[in-house]
Amino acid sequence: MATQRQLIYDYLRHKKKFPNIWCAGCGIGIVMGAIIRAVDDLGYDKNQVAMISGIGCSGRMPVYLDFYTMHTTHGRALSFATGLKLARPELKIIVVMGDGDALAIGGNHFIHTARRNIDLTAIVINNATYGMTGGQYSPTTPQHMLATTAPYGNIEQDFPICELAQVCGAAFVARSTVYHVEELQGYIEQGLEKKGFALIEAVSYCHTTYGRLNRLGSAVDMMRALKENSITRQAAEKLPPEELQGKIVRGIFVDREVPEYTELYQKIIERAQSGGKA
């Protein structure tokens, strides 16, 4: 494994773009670290890796990474990535999204991309809010919590991101937190190696907006909460539902073989070119 110095030198656009724009203590940078270590660990060539993001705090990640990088529009990163993947099936494509990006405005692309099971590694950084625009409620804001647009408390149920991806047909689905960054890195590696759509949810509460509004303390306090309020799937199975309330369940939700889209399309090309039924 490369040293941190080497990783910084190899994978970050370190000369010009640092320090990054995120708030002090924001977990997005931690996810970024996990990504570069995963890529390094797997021994990928940088010329083989693309990163595509939407708009949001998380959406700024590609600026810092020395891959093919594309910062698209709010909610549509997966659709851009689908086009790129079909054009360049040989690329490893990592799609980084915020929870609003992936599941509010981008919810449709999320479910359809999972359904198509196209070979992308999607990372949703779930900070339970819209960070970039200053703390409005998102589809993952827990019920009853405050947000700038929910001054009387949020009344919506939150999306179970992993279950959603699973029901739609994703090949690999897992959740971890920025506290458990090594576990997270492992999931990212598995996602990258999986042929098919891989969804990794990285829980990383935004302390600047969500935390402050709900008086959850500093970045340090919220990091501690990730440690204390999370539990593995194995452990969760043994708990009664009441005790699971408010817990972050970590682990792999799905890991299965599903025919992958670009491969299936390749077969169509072969059929068409051999004069098959049109």
């Binding site: 724009i21 708030c23 970039m132 200053g134 600047t208």
Partner: protein
């Protein structure tokens, strides 16, 4: 059709507060403007600029003060420029009026663009007065008040109390007083300061 005769720019006084995101410059501008407009009974318009790095990048706040109507809401040539960071000082000095007043926070600004400057260790004074860097903006407001009189002490204090986060009122007012005192000291020392011309 309406014909207007009001002369524009009469008594127009332009203030720019510049620093980094997180230094409270936008709140300071709002406090200054609200003090002038709501409690001193004159007119004020406040605008702001900031980057996407709401928490870190360059940020500035502008306040136009006048007894008449205010048309252009931005600084054309600043009468007063307060710079809380080196970058701000480098960048904004160019449109300070010839006889405008430049205040720099010497805690953060090493190289002043000119010698006609009031250099005050604003952040240092803040830490000294309240123990909290973040109150530097209030020290700056006190300083402005004391040096230029464009806002009254009472109005400024009222505005601070109504706009700072609940529970931090005393702390912030204390910082403002630290600024006021420093201003008094400076005025007594007779530093080269250009004060507002009319109004």
């Amino acid at each position: 059709m309406k014909k207007e005769t009001t002369k524009p720019g009469i008594g127009r006084y332009e203030v720019r507060l510049a620093g980094k995101g997180g230094q409270g410059m936008i709140l300071a501008g709002r406090i200054l403007a609200e003090a002038v407009a709501l409690y001193d009974g004159r007119n004020a318009v406040q605008t702001q600029d900031y980057g996407p790095e709401a928490r870190g990048g360059a940020s500035k706040s502008e306040v136009i003060i006048s007894d008449g109507e205010i048309y252009y809401p931005k600084v054309m040539n600043a009468d007063l420029l307060v710079c809380m960071s080196q970058e701000a000082s480098d960048r904004y000095y160019y449109d300070l009026k010839r006889d405008g007043l430049l205040i720099i926070d010497s805690t953060n600004v090493d190289r002043s663009p000119t010698t006609r400057v009031v250099a005050v260790p604003i952040t240092e004074l803040a830490v000294k007065a309240t123990g909290r860097e973040i109150t530097a903006a209030m020290v700056a407001l006190g300083l402005i008040c004391g040096l230029t009189k464009i806002v009254s002490e009472e109005a400024l204090e009222k505005a601070i109390r109504s706009l700072v986060p609940k529970g931090t009122e005393e702390l912030n007012v204390k910082a403002m007083h630290a600024g006021l005192e420093e201003a008094k000291r400076l005025l007594e020392a007779g530093l080269p300061i250009s004060l507002p011309r009319e109004l």
